[in-house]
Amino acid sequence: MTTHTTAPGTPETPDTPDSNAPAATGLIGLPATVGRALATGGGALAVVSAFLAWTWTAEFPGDLTVYGYPGGLQVLVLIGGLFTTLFGLASYGVKGLKVLTPGNADSALKLAALGTFATAWYTVIAISAKLGGVVNLEPGGYLVALATLVALLGALALPFQRPEPDPADPDDTGWEAFRHRARQKRANFKAAFAAEPPAPGRTLPAWAEILVITGVMALGLLVFTYGIGTEYDELFIGFLLTAGFGFAALAKAGLVARISAITTRHRTVTMTGAFVAAAAFPFTQSDDQYATIGVYILIFATVALGLNIVVGLAGLLDLGYVAFLGVGAYTAALVSGSPSSPLHVHWPFWASALLGAVVAMIFGVLIGAPTLRLRGDYLAIVTLGFGEIFRITVLNMDGTSGPDVTNGSNGISSIPNLNILGFDFGQEHQLLGTTIGRFANYFLLMLLITLVVVVVFRRSSDSRIGRAWIAIREDETAALAMGINGFRVKLIAFALGACLAGLAGSVQAHVTYTVTPEQYQFAHVVPPNSAFLLAAVVLGGMGTISGPLVGASLLYLIPAKLQFLGDYQLFAFGVALVLLMRFRPEGLIPNRRRQLEFHEDTAAPAVLSKAGA
């Protein structure tokens, strides 16, 4: 009988060594001082290497062959290296740089190094793949790869506070133990990049804060203009890498929190600044090429923002929203004086825009009245159905299957350009010393519409009716018991959303020359469609103003810029959406309310300031 030898005490003994004492070490076993020096030095070296030639031939786009003059992707690496160096120096505690990192300098350094590494290695690999082998790299290419790798390794060696490890259950099966270890590793990895929100900064004088806002807006315009103007796929991917990691690094450094604190103190100034920056965009362009993208982004973003009232505030999942854009566009097209419109009238813009909005609103009420008695998924399905009904109805009103109104699948074409007070939108104009082309004209007009929608959103959300919407979204039964006429309030949200979409549609008809039923599908490759609109809202952040604007910009730019995605575009989009919902369910720019909702565990501020909505 040897049973007693497997005494219960034995499994405990191997665990006891210092494994559960959280030591402040890095992910990589290098001394912290060496790591910091390597990261900072690597960053500086990356800056230097951006001035060298990376390849011998100009066949790789961007001409990376010139010494002393960085081009294309080199500029991005240069910026990344600069950030890495600055954060590195700041983490040493250099006096003037402390202001850069009110949060966690080490985490910011890690992300900056990671971003630089990703951009540089992507470039090097892209060069090798495109030109056929690493022989095509010049010494500068090797140097930048080495420098960014060193910077990354150095940054990863920086110490961080490891989370308290969960004790393992000794009864775990092998698979459970493996999962436990994996979980532990993931927690460790997350902790390596964690940064607690910075302490609230001191309040600067008002003029200085406004200056900061101006600077941020200018920077935003610069980044956006650069992104929209990227000429080839590689540069755009590099741009996304640098911008994404750069933003994350700034967030970890605490700068984003600081700036959002400033912007919430000056909301009107921020809004004005943002619109001035957006209005300045066409003036930075030498031709109309990118203003085209700009105006389509604006249309998309404006409609998404209108949808955000319905989905984000009132919580009504509308899968047929694009139909209202279509109603507005068709209405405006019918009265635009287009030769293919059966109504041979030519209304001025203000009248057709108003008519488009009103007709869309009427459709909103007509569709909303029967469907809004449904809740949740049922409402989604019914609105999806109505969206398709709109498209098919329009398709059939071609004179053979139905009355001749919309010209069927040919749509209403050659819609004339707008002419407001003698300002012909189809012509080029000289404004402030730059040439403003057709799309730039429409861009500025569309910006006005966006401004209207933003103001409507802001004002309605912060009022009795907005609170009623949010209450309905939170708990419909309780909201009814508080005396809110749920149906009426929801119908107002639905009609308002439809009205704003119709307004945007009345401009869209003129921008695109032609309206066809195919533009207003549920899912389509070209953005303004119901699925993409909803995705823009969810991706950007429900219930916020800037969320759908950012979401729409990304969703439009990425497919427009990455031609090679081609057939896999929807697939990539789906994967990205799944990943986003897994790791950041509150969206890119979260409503603070929602952030608290989805991340209860994190130490979120319990107090929601008035600006939270």
Partner: protein, 302 residues
């Protein structure tokens, strides 16, 4: 057979004040199941009335009939003489506010916003007013905020006005629910188990709060399981058992009634509660004397 219970209705009508709530013959059927059968209940102004009964007795169903969440199959509910409309938001507008058994706050709104939502029926500002932001809008908004802060101070939550409702501790969530209900300026407040899950101190605080609400001239109808709480608080208590009203009267009457005790302690409740049961009890007692080992039964019968 509810004949004998209706006779007792008239007994405690001593409290002064007009009738605020008058439920007559309320019956609620769900298919074949009769959840509430022919219940009569009146609440007078300045009165706190308790509604008790074992689990599943139909208290919450009756409550839902009063608040328009359910439309009673038979019978009618009058509030200050007018029949209540069958929509819960119209009932609130008429002047009946309620809280919920399981807290239903707007979890992701702030404490202040929750109370402001409660003000919905007493404010008029629509979408146009919100968009145009005239002077009337700002005035109404400021007045609403002032009133909401007043109510928060009344329940003792004014310091936490900007907190998210979900972050409040349980007892304070209950208080906030009451403040939110009071924001609609009700004439009658229905509290559905306001002390569920509270510790004794919190229960006492709630008691004080309900008295303070009564002192403002608001009639209160409370469902509760905590007997000490209900008998301390209420001017009148009605007992609901298996969907029927068993008895109604002041605390002493109800506490002393053996049918109530029987209903609570699980004695099989017969259709005819009066004499027949008494006879049965007596028979049981007699038997218990003869047969040892049935003491527990005797004990419950007292």
């Amino acid at each position: 057979m509810t004949t004998d219970t209706t006779t007792k209705d008239t007994a405690p009508g001593t409290t002064p004040g007009e009738t605020v709530l008058d439920a007559r013959g309320v019956t609620m059927r769900f298919g074949g199941l009769t959840a509430v059968r022919d219940v009569n209940l009146t609440v007078n102004s300045g009165e706190i009335v308790g509604l008790i009964g074992p689990n599943g007795a139909g208290k919450t169903t009756f409550f839902n009939c009063l608040t328009g969440l359910y439309v009673p199959t038979e019978g009618e509910v009058r509030y200050k003489g007018t029949v209540l409309p069958p929509k819960s938001f119209k009932v609130t507008a008429a002047g009946i506010a309620r809280t919920f058994q399981n807290i239903r706050l707007f979890a992701n709104m702030t404490v202040l916003e929750n109370v402001l939502v409660g003000r919905h029926t007493r404010t008029k500002e629509g979408l146009w007013s919100a968009l145009l932001r005239g002077p009337g809008f700002h005035k109404a908004e400021a007045a609403s905020r002032a009133r909401a802060m007043e109510l928060l101070a009344f329940v003792g939550l004014d310091a936490k006005a900007e907190h998210l409702a979900r972050n409040l501790p349980y007892g304070e969530q209950r208080k906030l629910e009451i403040a939110r209900a009071l924001a609609s300026e009700p004439g009658l407040l229905l509290l559905d188990e306001p002390t569920a899950g509270m510790n004794p101190q919190e229960t006492r605080a709630t008691e004080e709060l309900v008295f303070a609400i009564r002192d403002q001239g608001i009639a209160v109808l409370v469902i509760e399981h905590d007997m000490r709480f209900i008998f301390n608080l209420c001017d009148r208590v009605a007992v609901l058992v298996q969907g029927q009203k068993l008895i109604e009267g002041d605390s002493a009457t109800v506490q002393g009634d053996e049918r109530v005790v029987a209903a609570y302690l699980g004695e099989p409740f017969e259709d005819a509660p009066g004499d027949e049961e008494a006879a049965e009890v007596e028979a049981a007692e007699a038997q218990a004397d003869a047969v040892p080992g049935k003491e527990n039964r005797k004990e419950t019968d007292r």
